[in-house]
């Protein structure tokens, strides 16, 4: 067995790897991000074979191996399909800014979409106050502040007047 205790000093070399990128969104995600930024609108894309509406929009339906063709405007409301309360900070690696815990994090299927979107949920972090099936709306940053990124979404918030099913 090895051990952490060594008589001699053990040397280590710290290196910060910092690689710059200029990512191109491409034809499909590019339209999605521009529409989100400029119009606050979510777009999915429908597969001509299985009819699945996919978000984010992408070139190929992985299931059917065909090009996706039909753009579909999605709702800004949807249904919660999964959730958790995060007790650890979540750091945005693109900005280095942390979201402080605890906070509610959820997975929402926007109306018209077959895909889900994970994001913050503006509900106090208490599992008794949130349930699968809850109706949610997307709350966006104001138009001038949006950059074409999922961080343009502030959070999901529940529609008013919902009662938790027994």
């Amino acid at each position: 067995m090895g051990s952490d205790v060594h008589e001699e000093e053990l040397i280590s070399i710290p290196i910060t790897v910092d690689v710059p990128y200029r990512f191109a969104a491409g034809k499909y995600l590019g339209k999605f991000l521009v529409e989100l930024r400029d119009n606050g609108t979510f777009y999915g894309i429908r597969c001509p074979v299985c009819k699945r509406v996919q978000m984010p929009p992408r070139i190929v339906c992985a299931q059917c191996h065909v090009k996706n063709t039909e753009w579909v405007k999605l709702g800004n409301e949807g249904t919660l399909v999964g959730f958790t309360i995060m007790y650890i900070p979540l750091t945005d690696p693109t900005t280095g800014k942390p979201h402080d815990p605890p906070f509610t994090y959820g997975s929402v299927k926007l109306d018209g979409s077959d895909s889900v979107l994970d994001h913050l949920v503006n509900i106090e972090p208490d599992v008794s106050k949130i349930w699968v099936g809850m109706r949610m709306r997307v709350v966006l940053r104001p138009k001038g502040e949006r950059i074409g990124d999922l961080s343009d979404i502030l959070y999901f918030e529940p529609l008013e007047g919902q009662v938790q099913p027994e």
């Binding site: 690689v19 710059p20 990128y21 191109a24 992408r58 070139i59 190929v60 339906c61 992985a62 090009k67």
Partner: protein, 382 residues
């Protein structure tokens, strides 16, 4: 090899300095869609394995084959990523078919060099304990190799410049090539020093692009095409890592990889029996050094070879009729592109840069700085 594997289809993008209009999945799909439609094959029905070829650090995504799973047909199916030069994807794809686990394999290599900085990327390939913080990259390492090689054997800047001139002349005839402008030896020698003795024109430019190749077992190959290109020999080999460990003027790993491939292909006395070579010339001197490693000439005679004109398009043994990497082919994609171009030659479909009656081709690819890992593949019509 007792059983056989063939290249039955190839597709490549037009290589370009920057493709801002597509992400790497869309770039990849251009060649996947084309090779499938050219061969009449369908993912679900015909392809039972896929191998992609790129690197996380180039793609800017951890486990970057996540990004091409959808387009390569990886969903609920087999997909593996070769984190090496594309030539090795051909090597491993052929092994998969020879094992009888697979019958028809889709290979695809892609990289967008334009989206990042190659020197920063390649600096991370140097060992972090003794070398990396000195700031080396593939170009500075190659310069050390070029100096050592040229000094030992008296290879001149004019001779390496001739490699660039030949590359451009060949690229001008290749519709997929990126840099086609003709240049003279004087023009190369007038380009600025980047890392002595390497000048700007001695170094392959950044490139965005993708290549797809389909391999098939003999039975499937006969069903798919009338012009199968048989994989006759395969070889790989690693050299030492540290620059100072290697004799940079020689290429032990390439020599061994070539010996392995030639032994399998029954090539006893190269270049006898070889009609053309496609190799990874990221730097002009590499064409000469790699030709020595491939046993095409004796050590130190690479310079004489280019002087003789033997390796020109109309010479007895054309090298890089496609224009090679010097005319612009992305890292990682290089070796798969070489295999695709060699296959086109053997199929007789290379177009303007076709070598008459090309029957046997040698493909070389390498990974790591100064060619630490080499892969050699012998392709043939028969």
């Amino acid at each position: 090899m007792s059983e056989r594997v063939a290249i039955v289809g190839v597709a490549q993008t037009r290589f370009s300095a920057k493709r801002a209009d597509v992400n790497y999945a869309e770039l990849a799909y251009e060649v996947i869609e084309k090779v499938l439609s050219d061969t009449g094959l369908e993912i679900e029905r015909d392809i039972d394995n896929s191998i992609s070829c790129s690197h996380d650090i180039w793609d800017g995504q951890t486990i970057s084959n996540i990004g091409i799973t959808d387009v390569i047909g990886g969903h609920l199916r087999n997909e593996e990523k070769m984190a090496m030069d594309g030539s090795t994807a051909v090597y491993y794809g052929a092994i998969g078919i020879l094992s009888s686990e697979f019958n028809c394999t889709l290979l695809m290599a892609h990289t967008k060099m334009s989206q990042t900085n190659r020197n920063i990327v390649n600096n991370d390939a140097f060992d972090p304990i003794y070398t990396r913080i000195l700031g080396f990259d593939y170009t500075s390492a190659a310069a050390l190799q070029a100096k050592r090689y040229m000094d030992r054997y008296g290879i001149t800047g004019e001779q390496t410049a001739k490699v660039v001139v030949k590359s451009r002349a060949n690229a001008a005839k290749n519709p997929y090539a990126q840099v086609k402008e003709s240049i003279t030896v004087e023009g190369v020698l007038k380009s600025p020093i980047i890392a002595a003795p390497l000048r700007e024109m001695d170094i392959a430019p950044d490139s965005d692009g993708a290549v797809a190749v389909i391999l098939a077992s003999e039975k499937r190959a006969r069903e798919i095409t009338d012009t199968p290109v048989w994989i006759r020999g395969l070889g790989t080999c690693y050299d030492a890592h540290y620059l100072g460990d290697r004799d940079l003027a020689e290429c032990m790993a390439l020599r061994k990889a070539a010996e392995r491939a030639y032994a399998m292909a029954g090539i006893g006395d190269p270049p006898k029996g070889i009609d053309l070579i496609e190799l990874g010339d990221e730097f002009s001197y590499q064409e000469l050094l790699w030709l020595e490693g491939l046993g095409i000439c004796r050590e130190g005679e690479g310079g004489k070879l280019i002087d003789s004109g033997v390796t020109a398009l109309e010479g007895a043994l054309p090298v890089n009729p496609s224009g090679g990497v010097l005319s612009g082919v992305p890292a990682n994609v290089m070796g798969l592109r070489s295999a695709a171009e060699a296959a086109l030659q053997i199929m007789g479909k290379a177009g303007e840069h076709q070598i008459p009656d090309a029957r046997t081709a040698v493909v070389q690819g390498h990974s790591g700085f100064c060619g630490q890992h080499h892969c050699v593949i012998v392709l043939a019509r028969d």
